[in-house]
Amino acid sequence: MEESKQIEEILRRFHPERENLLPVLQEIQEKVGYLSREVMESVARFFHLPPSEIFSVVTFYNQFRRKPPGRNPIHVCLGTACYLLGGNLILDAFSRELQIKKGDTTEDGNFGLESTACFGCCNVAPVVKINSQIYPKMTPGTVEEVIINLRDKNKKG
């Protein structure tokens, strides 16, 4: 399988020492997009660490994902300015609308939901970034609109 070859190639370049765990996980995620159960198991074997230890590390850091990213990854900003202007309400609205939690991807693989900290455009807070486009001054009401537009676009595209 293509994916397991990629992983093997990454592992070959590292010594199985604990200090290499994070770089290995980061590289695999960059190549493959996420860290599946199987990937975590092979990483555990490589480092001679218990799988629960890998799981512990992967869940500790926000940067790691355990599900494939959606075709439209939605990044809700929870930086200070966005947070104060209700960024968490925007995140809740997306979560409700898409029926997924932060870090998850919808069943159809269409949307992923993530939170991040600051895109550097606090003047139009609260903001959301989807496919490198910034959506300014979001409200829970505009969340539905954004999703409908993206669904339409995906059907056409």
Binding site: R37, P50, T59
Partner: protein, 219 residues
Amino acid sequence: MPSLIIDGKEIAAEPGEKILWAALRSGIHIPHLCAMESADLPFGGCRLCLVEVEVGGRREMVTACSEPVREKMKVYAHTEKIERMRRTAFELIMSDHLIDCKNCPKRKDCELIRTASSLKMTLQPKNLRSLVRDLSIDDSHPLFAYDPRKCVKCGKCVLTCQGLGKSLLNFAYRGFEMVVTTFDHLPLASSGCESCLECVKVCPTGALYLKETGGRRDG
């Protein structure tokens, strides 16, 4: 053999021993939940064993479970400041604990009840809201079950499972969302558990319990 002075009383300690164990052996009670004498690196997570030590004429706050004894060191284990810190720590622990002693398999044999009485506190926090998380019981295993709502994240089960060379249990996630769980949340029954039940023995609360003691399903 080094000796140290706790609350004005001189006691003996083993070389390299941590303050907590020297104190307990000499009959000085210091509250503690997560401490394990066998731990190489005590993480001092529960904050209940906080004490003040005198360092160069100044007092410093340390966790007694992780601070090694030094010859003639002066330790203050029951100052007003320390008691206040411990009460806050205990309230934090109890703020996300499902308090349901009536139906709890641990009943009265619970470290939280003992700690509360030694701190002269109630189980229910007075100054903090209760934020019990919506987590479900894993009762897949025939002999024991795990109720994460009663877990205080002391890590004793994690360390014990690790010490036995299995490491099936571990911490996952971070901060308020932290839980003790298996690899990828596998049910306990299919996690590779060999039913040694050591984790149940070390659990200070009703989180890990034997099914025969009758923890009710809905807590």
